[in-house]
């Protein structure tokens, strides 16, 4: 296209022929302000509901023992207090993983079907990515359950522990993704807080040759999916370590 080319609809005076000019990119479709498709992870919005149930379950798993004094029986009956906590973490994580993976495995195909039936365009994802979303949602809930169990052990109070865990997982995610904060601070929140784990649900891809806003408010996380989950795992491990230390030190 020459420099004198103008876009639009023109009629040549001499011949009466019509010509249409335009310009565009030949590039992969990406999310962002110009994107008009739906990302597959939009079908996992419901994760919030499952997440909260799992956080409550993980917390109550230990706090009810403190409430009713069962913790004394538990600690007497078992060898090693760390072992009790480890066993609880394994059971809570397994139950939460199953819940999340089953929910995602049902929600994704169902919602994709609904979105397509309503005339939405979905950004294409591979089978492996879809599998990662299912397994990742389970893993997200499993790590959240362990974090909740640890918080419950540290605080020994249900309400406080549930509030704190919801606040450290859900709140940074909302602040970052709901355009409350500018892109810079949003990205730091999703790098440093446990909310980084939501990156495992990102199916949108960023392409260097396509100019777009690859920011959290458009569904782009600063960390890669598994790195984000690793940050969340780090927090859970830290909390579980502190919980194990306190459980050994304190009287039941």
């Amino acid at each position: 296209v020459g420099p004198q080319a103008s876009t639009g609809f023109q009629q040549d005076q001499a011949t009466g022929a019509f010509s249409i000019r335009g310009s565009g990119d030949i590039a992969p479709a990406v999310g962002g302000p110009m994107g008009d498709g739906q990302a597959v992870e939009r079908t996992l919005v419901g994760t919030f509901a499952g997440l909260v149930v799992v956080i409550v379950l993980g917390t109550l798993f230990i706090t009810t023992e403190y409430r009713r004094g069962l913790i004394r029986t538990t600690l007497i009956a078992s060898q090693g207090r760390g072992r009790v906590l480890a066993a609880k973490a394994v059971v809570a994580a397994a139950v939460a993983f199953t819940t999340g993976a089953v929910a995602a495995a049902v929600a994704i195909p169902l919602c994709v079907h609904m979105l397509k039936a309503n005339g939405n365009v979905l950004y294409p994802v591979g089978l492996l990515t879809e599998l990662r979303l299912v397994v990742g949602t389970g893993a997200l809930l499993a790590v959240a359950a362990v974090l909740a169990l640890a918080a419950g052990t540290i605080l020994r109070r249900s309400a406080g522990a549930v509030t704190i865990v919801v606040a450290v997982i859900v709140l940074p995610y909302i602040l970052a993704s709901a355009s409350v904060l500018p892109a810079g601070p949003s990205e730091w929140l999703l790098r440093l807080t446990p909310a980084a784990g939501f990156a495992i649900q990102q199916s949108l891809r960023a392409f260097t040759q396509v100019d777009s806003q690859y920011t959290p408010s458009f569904g782009y996380f600063p960390l890669s999916p598994w790195a984000g989950l690793a940050v969340m795992c780090g927090w859970a491990a830290l909390a579980l370590g502190l919980a194990a230390y306190l459980l050994r030190r304190r009287d039941a």
Partner: protein, 92 residues
């Protein structure tokens, strides 16, 4: 470790309402997702944050439920010697 695992698994499994809670969690997650998917059109795609927030309201309701149930089991209405009128008198 196997014994501890077995013990904790038994505790969780025999908790009344545990299966219902987990099935409820799956149903709620799927219902919320399908609800959002059903309303999503290409026009509303520009505001994913607002859609993402829908889950939180429902989530807050879910938080309230189990925590309240847990508390209620513990609360035993014992007459308070300093406030014979009970909760109402103390709150006022």
């Amino acid at each position: 470790m196997r014994l501890a695992l077995h013990a904790e698994w038994t505790k969780l499994r025999t908790q009344p309402g545990m299966a219902a809670l987990l099935i409820g969690a799956v149903v709620l997650t799927v219902r919320l997702s399908t609800g959002v998917a059903a309303t999503a059109t290409t026009a509303s795609a520009s505001d994913p944050a607002k859609l993402a927030l829908t889950g939180v309201y429902l989530g807050q309701v879910v938080v309230g439920g189990p925590v309240r149930t847990g508390d209620r089991r513990r609360v035993q209405h014992r007459p308070d010697p300093h406030h014979p009128g009970g909760d109402a008198a103390r709150d006022a």
